[in-house]
Subunit: 212 residues, 4 copies
């Protein structure tokens, strides 16, 4: 295990020397912790079987964390069709999906409308507030919610959700709060991968959940 990957998502290569070369309060055992998380498969599956609601951050989870900007307030975001298909598959399996975004954008609103997402919050500020509203509306315990985020403002929800996931580009100081890191990149099927995992953990087959 190396300390090289502690400071950023993808690690800093510093001529073979660990970085930083002094003692800080960042967990030196971060990678080991993540390894142990992942190894604890039976526990993760037990948690996945209880899931009754998906909650997704938008930027950096359903997109590649970028926004195309033009003159004035013109902007576009890049959404993934396979992720959208995942929302449909989850719905057919009886699991609704909610979005909580910390950055309001008309592009996000457009995507929400296309997917028929009913529970959608986009506002600056802590995400705890809309998350609490969702729990109340659906009469759920946090342990029945699967959450996926990618940055520091998602950490408080990661700490209480039943299953917390993130994406490869998330900083390591965020990754330490999640149960799993997807293999797919954000906006390129990461959300679908997470949905697939929960669906399969519940004993369902995605191919059976679409029209023939």
């Amino acid at each position: 295990m190396s300390r090289k990957k502690l400071a950023s998502g993808k690690g800093i290569i510093l001529g073979g020397n660990p970085w930083p070369p002094f003692s800080i309060d960042y967990p030196l055992l971060l990678e080991l912790i993540r390894y142990m998380h992942k190894k604890d498969c039976p526990r993760l599956l037990t948690k996945m079987k209880k899931i009754k609601l998906f909650v997704f951050d938008v930027d950096g989870v359903l997109t590649d964390n970028t926004v195309w900007m033009g003159r004035g307030k013109t902007e576009m975001k890049r959404f993934n069709i396979a992720d959208g298909m995942g929302v449909y598959i989850a719905r057919r399996a009886g699991i609704p999906t909610a979005f909580i975004s910390g950055r309001p954008s008309p592009a996000t609103t457009s995507r929400v409308k296309e997917l028929g997402i009913v529970d959608f919050y986009q506002q600056r500020g802590p995400k705890r507030v809309p998350f609490a509203k969702l729990l109340k509306k659906y009469k759920l315990d946090p342990k029945e919610v699967a959450f996926m985020g990618d940055d520091v403002i998602d950490v408080p929800i990661m700490q209480i959700a039943g299953v917390a996931a993130t994406v490869p580009h998330a900083p390591d100081y965020v990754k330490k709060y999640v149960d799993l890191v997807t293999d797919h990149e954000a906006g390129m099927g990461a959300a679908r991968e997470f949905i697939d995992m929960v669906i399969i953990a519940k004993g369902l087959d995605p191919v059976d959940l679409t029209y023939k």
Copy 2:
């Protein structure tokens, strides 16, 4: 052979343990099946020589499966010039190309017009219906059609087409229904690669099929 790649297109790394760690009805031998498909080269070539029509899904085959969204209904898709050149090459070789999309979009319509595609269907719902129309119009057996798709709604066509192909990002539970997986990513030459293979299998040279 590992079970690691079963649950998603790119696989889940779970600390060295197979995932899921219990028995499901997903084919444990998925990778072996795919290997055997590919190894059966002479059979694949025989099938390719019979091809008289190309049918492509659009999103995730001719695009990278993403859509750029802005305010309201503004949206853009990213199409590949080499794929378009492939459509021209196929046409010069006497093989028409049809598109069947499950997600209507003005961006797809624009691309269809540029390429001069005559047979174009974009509608939600099963793809069997437009596929049957194409067979009737061209008086073809399904075995004379080469089809390329990337997700669960393409499976019914994959099961009957003469040659079925998909792209690297397709989930493994879709990949098991195809004859081959392209090396190029969707929207980055995957369709061209598939066309090239069929053209070359028929003994033609793409360089000879363009103006000098």
Copy 3:
């Protein structure tokens, strides 16, 4: 040396078996030929020192070979700032740059205007015609022109240019006509890399050719 990479730009992995498994008139020794081209460094440098004009194809050389399409005729292309800086660096070194595109587009026109490119041709049809015009205008032998293209319609120019280059995504049946394949992807610095090579071959330093 493997036959695996013959049929497409990135190669087809077929369970360890060569593809196609029968004899065709495609050069079995394609990779060896390319290797020998590259190994012949002194000859390539001699050719580069004679260059007095750069000619670039646009799609797939100055872009990643994709086009973003929206409703109607709306379209965007993605150009690279480092490639543009390369055009400036070449100009300061006394070498003009021309573009020849086979696909007319207002996006290409916008880029041409920004870079102050005087010699610009965009029309469907053979590229030999505008290339001959450039030779006449600048009173050059084809051996004094460096050309970069990526697909079958660029082959006739590749066959006569002083130095012909292409990009990693080009099909192998195109690559066999060039002197070198850049390491950078198209639209991500491939043109700059080619310009840098010629500039350095002429004994100049790109850092000295900009303002301080």
Copy 4:
């Protein structure tokens, strides 16, 4: 150590032979120099602790160095949310951020407004002039400024800044002027990685610098 990577950012593979195969005044020991830079970790940390201002080039640092162009002057750029979060984190840590761009663009202006950047310069010509204005305004020594750029016009600032960084795609003849090369690509978290490093070097934790 190989000479293969000297001529361009990603290196040229030339059949195992070094390129160029003759003696030029480019530092043959470029990679060794970079290695030594990086190995000198304690010195780099000492320099980072003194930082009181971030200055970023825009194209190729905050973007992937590309611009999407359409008809006329329509253009879009792709900005990264994690980089923007880095600007907020730096601000909460008491370190302001300035942008100096050599290519004026309304897309850049849009991003600057969203992030609330006060110190923003976009103009063609040497970057020394706006850099000097920043030093005067904030009463700083150049050694108290962290700078990130990616091309030849950034070299003069790299030579005087306290800590100079660049991105993986920068040409090697630019990389030799910096203290570090980020692992993240430009526009995909490179700026955030640089900010994180300085923040952590100062003994702060990014998770603590956002709302809970």
